[in-house]
Symmetry: C2
Subunit: 217 residues, 2 copies
């Protein structure tokens, strides 16, 4: 809403973090906050916060600061958390089950409407109130329910094949936990992908520990 200048990629990447911190403040009953105070909490400069928040409309007030609730709602709206998009989960192994149970989809702009797996032992079970179906049933399911997004918790060997099938079935967005890098050039096909590489983060920790431990000598 409001004026919406150009929101840079760097700002977009920070929005979820702002959203989390503002939510935390709301929980604590804080109704207004200055850029300086928020900067202390988040560990970024007040200058950057003002620059960032000003990208999408003048929600601050000189001499007062920002209204936490207004800002929170505005960021939710920019991120699209104020609507829900239908999503299906492919792969109900350890990781898939953890994601299904752990993630608050409804508060993140999604609704989990189907789960699919190859393992006969899982098919017919229910996870978070959602029936686990055979992967054979992906296409007929999509013809009826038209999910917009898919969460991939499957081995990298089958990611290419499954994602191609899903794209054919009309899926537009992927949250990909498999180790296969779903190609970025999907963008040209009108597909968006968020690859989650948990092991990248573990390797970064390894690097940081290495650096830390060698500094200590």
């Amino acid at each position: 809403m409001a004026h919406e200048k150009n929101i840079s990629k760097a700002v977009i990447k920070r929005l979820p973090r702002y959203y989390r911190f503002l939510g935390e403040l709301l929980n604590q009953g804080v109704t207004r906050i200055s850029s300086r105070l928020l900067s202390e909490k988040m560990g970024i400069t007040a200058s950057q916060i003002r620059q960032d928040l000003n990208c999408f409309g003048g929600f601050g007030q000189q001499g007062y600061g920002y209204n936490v609730n207004v800002l929170y709602e505005e960021i939710a709206s920019i991120l699209g958390l104020d609507r829900q998009v239908d999503a299906i989960l492919i792969g109900a192994g350890n990781l898939g089950r953890a994601v299904a149970n752990h993630m608050e989809f409804e508060q993140r702009g999604f609704r989990l409407i189907g789960i699919f797996d190859e393992n006969p032992a899982l098919i017919g079970q229910t996870i978070k109130g959602v029936l686990v179906r055979s992967t054979d049933k992906i296409e007929p399911f999509c013809r009826v329910y038209h999910p917009t997004a898919a969460i991939l918790c499957i081995p990298k060997t089958v990611t290419k094949e499954i994602s191609d099938r899903l794209i054919d079935a009309g899926v537009k967005g992927f949250w990909n936990f498999s180790h296969y890098d779903l190609a970025l050039n999907q963008k040209e096909r009108g597909i968006v992908v968020e690859n989650v590489h948990m092991s990248d983060s573990l390797m970064t920790l390894s690097y940081e520990l290495k650096t830390l431990l060698s500094e200590e000598n």
Copy 2:
């Protein structure tokens, strides 16, 4: 090794990704690669690849390209994947079990030596060959085995308390999956933290889908 100029933060953040792509090439039996070819595979410019790889020593050869295996080993060494650091997992719920089973710690610079949970139903069980102990046993365990890193798959309400106990017990690095932002200022205490906010990535996908779908009109 070699000359090691200053490796910038931006480069460090890309190293795990380089490492994954080079590993993939090795699997395919590729022994040499040019910056141009790698740039096509990874979706970044050849210029950036040369700039990046040159930060840590002249591993390329004019007219030839890069030796995939040499580069792979070099990045592993920079990230510290060529040694193993002892780690414990706190929280053996859905997410903890998924992380324990799913993650190849040994190939990422870590060795999982202990798992802790509060749930009596889990204590005494074994996950990936590692015994689940009561969280009461964290301190005595640490006195004997001195783990360097801890993986936190626990509710955000207990993260502060547990992490303080672990720091007192000598833990230096955290891989934190709880929704609590382990403070960055830990760095001053000689502690490193990698926070994994899976929901941030889901919110980013929500934003990208919103943008994509609104463009289509």
